[in-house]
């Protein structure tokens, strides 16, 4: 733990932004302001922020169904994201992507993904671009315990090793793939070990501990930037909400979520660590809490007031060179 004051503040600010964003999305979704489906990242913030704090805008990430946290950690605009979830023209994707496909290529964010295991092969491609054009950048695939069982993931892991690409696979094991336990679905009960079997360094870290994720990510990213090839990190984490908003969560244990929030809250852990070590004052963190709450409020107000997409946009952006819609 040798992070500077500003880095610590910024890391907390980003984790806090994700938490408040997701709590507010849950609230707004329940009220009916957000169409479709949302899969909330609350509880897993240390993973996205611990990894993305090492990245610049030219590094790429690809995300999952549960992508809001990765977007925010990678630098996507809070207003643009909220407006996208509200399906407004001011959204990051003009209201044409939504929660499961939110992306911002300008920030190196290759998209949440509606397909479990859809992202890892794309990250192999982004890493291939980095290697071919010698950009010195890296590409990160975030994926869940669910995607750890998909064939596309195995193919991506192998190809990254074969071509020795600057790719990092961050498996966020939150214990559930949809409504089924990872204890059942991950045959080996060891995702890091499985990734290691493809021939890359792979470690398992405590996802409640920002600093553990941060250190593991630094090692993997440094190795990739220096030509050392791909790595995998299994982040042991937990989700505070269901698979999607509105999930009755009948598969959860009694009191499970309450206990997770008490014992495994990565923001609380962070606060305790930095204040007990005298690195940050509680007042600094409180000020960030207040600042973030205001930011999220503003984003919701702006998103609600935003305009629906222009009907003409239905037919645009299919092809670069022409509309492509049937005449």
């Amino acid at each position: 733990m040798q992070l500077g004051h500003e880095t610590l503040l910024q890391s907390y600010r980003t984790m806090c932004t994700i938490r408040r964003f997701e709590e507010r999305v849950q609230e707004e979704f329940s009220k009916g302001g957000i169409p479709g489906f949302v899969h909330l990242y609350a509880g897993q913030e240390a993973s996205a922020v611990g990894v993305c704090s090492h990245l610049g805008p030219k590094d790429y990430i690809a995300s999952t169904h549960r992508g809001h946290g990765h977007c925010l950690a990678k630098g996507c605009d809070v207003h643009g994201m909220m407006a996208e979830l509200f399906a407004k023209s001011s959204g990051l994707c003009g209201g044409k992507g939504g929660s499961m496909h939110i992306a911002d290529l300008d920030q190196g964010m290759l998209g949440a993904n509606g397909i479990v295991g859809g992202g890892p092969p794309l990250v192999v491609g982004a890493a291939l671009t980095a290697k071919t054009l010698k950009t010195g950048t890296v590409a990160i695939a975030f994926l869940g315990d669910g995607a750890s069982n998909q064939g596309t993931t195995f193919e991506a892991l192998n190809m990254a090793v074969v071509l020795q690409l600057p790719a990092i696979f961050v498996f966020e094991n939150n214990g559930y793939g949809e409504y089924t336990g990872a204890a059942y679905a991950v045959g080996s009960h060891d995702i890091a070990g499985r990734a290691g079997g493809f021939g890359m360094p792979a470690v398992k870290v405590d996802g409640d501990d920002f600093f553990a994720v941060h250190d593991a990510a630094r090692d993997a990213i440094d190795r990739a930037r220096n030509g050392g090839g791909p790595s995998a990190i299994e982040v042991d984490t937990c989700r505070f909400y269901g698979h999607h908003s509105g999930d009755a969560q009948l598969y959860r244990g009694k009191d499970e979520v309450r206990r997770l929030r008490e014992d495994r809250d990565c923001l609380k852990h962070f606060r305790r660590r930095v204040t007990e070590a005298g690195l940050l004052e509680a007042a600094d963190l409180d000020a960030i809490d207040t600042e973030v709450a205001g930011l999220i409020d503003d984003a919701v107000i702006a998103a609600r007031a935003g305009e629906a997409p222009d009907p003409a946009s239905l037919l645009t952006d299919v092809y670069v060179s022409y509309l492509g819609a049937a005449s």
């Binding site: 290759l110 397909i115 092969p121 291939l128 071919t132 092809y319 492509g324």
Partner: protein, 337 residues
């Protein structure tokens, strides 16, 4: 200018574009071949030799042999395209789309729309189509109709070496994902092909033969059978116009409709299966937009709605031929209400 095969024309197109733009890479199974063997690289150059020799000029960094891993190849090519390369990925047989379709269908094809117009995905997927080699059900299909049905993909199906070169160069320079279908029985087909680079725009059909009595729309190998049929029919006094769309997405609707407006009769020929395929699509287009001009029902000459059989005798029955095309033309030409 000299006589060149489709194989040579495609190879030349790749060489032109790889010299012109360092972002163009070739990636796929055995595109050079021989990696990790005693014999060494360039043992294959693709299963039909199109990419043979490229590694000598462009190196392992741009002619990338992969494991047998179609999802990773298609996904890597899509991810590379959207981040700054211009990959030409090889899907050895188009039948293999079954193991990697997500990366084409849900990812590459939809980036631009899902991301609100920010993405450009200059990706070419070269793939082999077609029956006729007794390769049977999993190595003989012509699934370009499936690709054509996906918004966001462009689909190219050349029928001769001149078109193959110009269309492949166009595909590589295009900023959208392009599925480039090569018929496995046509690689040795020759015609005059310029030595220099040139492009053929997408969505411009080639009128292979002018005629006033019946319009025949045909794709790939079927263009040549249509020409054989038209030669036979000319002796019977039936004058056929033959249109090769060259690309099915975008489709040159105007050329087809203008022809049918003139002839009043349409036969569509495709060696793919009929349900939800290109023959059916083009028939629907004409029924919708040129109904008033039709003097006879539209006839589709296609493979039957079956998998491709193995036995040469059955496969011969499966693939449309000049006699079947001629019979369909005669039936619409002689049609009386």
């Amino acid at each position: 200018m000299s006589q060149k095969t489709i194989r040579q024309a495609l190879h030349e197109a790749l060489v032109h574009e790889m010299r012109r733009d360092p972002r163009v890479i070739v990636i796929g199974e055995d595109v050079s071949g021989g990696a990790g063997t005693q014999g060494g690289r360039d043992a294959a150059g693709g299963v039909l030799g199109v990419t043979k020799g490229l590694i000598g000029e462009f190196g392992e960094g741009r002619v990338i042999d992969t494991p047998i891993t179609e999802s990773a190849i298609m996904g890597a090519a899509a991810g590379a395209a959207v981040t700054g390369l211009r990959p030409v990925a090889e899907l050895m047989f188009s039948d293999f789309l079954g193991v990697c379709f997500d990366q084409i269908f849900n990812q590459a094809a939809k980036f631009r729309y899902m991301f609100g117009g920010k993405a450009r995905t200059p990706l070419v997927i070269r793939t082999m189509v077609g029956a006729g080699r007794s390769a049977a059900a999993q190595h003989s299909q012509s699934p370009y109709g499936i690709f054509t049905s996906v918004p966001g993909l462009k689909v190219v199906i050349p029928s001769n070496a001149y078109d193959a070169k110009g269309l492949l160069i166009q595909a590589i320079r295009d900023d959208d994902p392009v599925i480039f279908c090569e018929h496995k029985l046509m690689y040795d087909l020759r015609c005059e092909v310029p030595d220099e680079a040139y492009t053929i725009p997408f969505g411009e059909a080639n009128v292979v033969r002018d005629g006033d009595d019946v319009t025949i729309v045909a794709l790939a190998r079927m263009v040549h059978y249509a020409i054989d049929a038209a030669d036979m029919l000319a002796k019977e006094g039936i004058d056929c116009e033959i249109i090769d769309p060259r690309t099915t997405s975008p489709l040159d609707e105007d050329t087809i409709l203008e022809s049918v407006e003139r002839t009043g009769r349409l036969v569509v020929v495709d060696e793919a299966t009929p349900r939800c395929g290109m023959a059916t699509d083009i028939a629907a287009l004409v029924a919708d937009k040129a109904f008033g001009a039709l003097k006879a029902p539209i006839r589709r000459v296609t493979a039957p709605h079956t998998p491709v059989p193995f036995a040469p005798s059955l496969e011969k029955l499966y693939i449309p031929d000049a006699d079947r095309i001629a019979a369909a033309v005669r039936s619409v030409h002689g049609y009386a209400r």
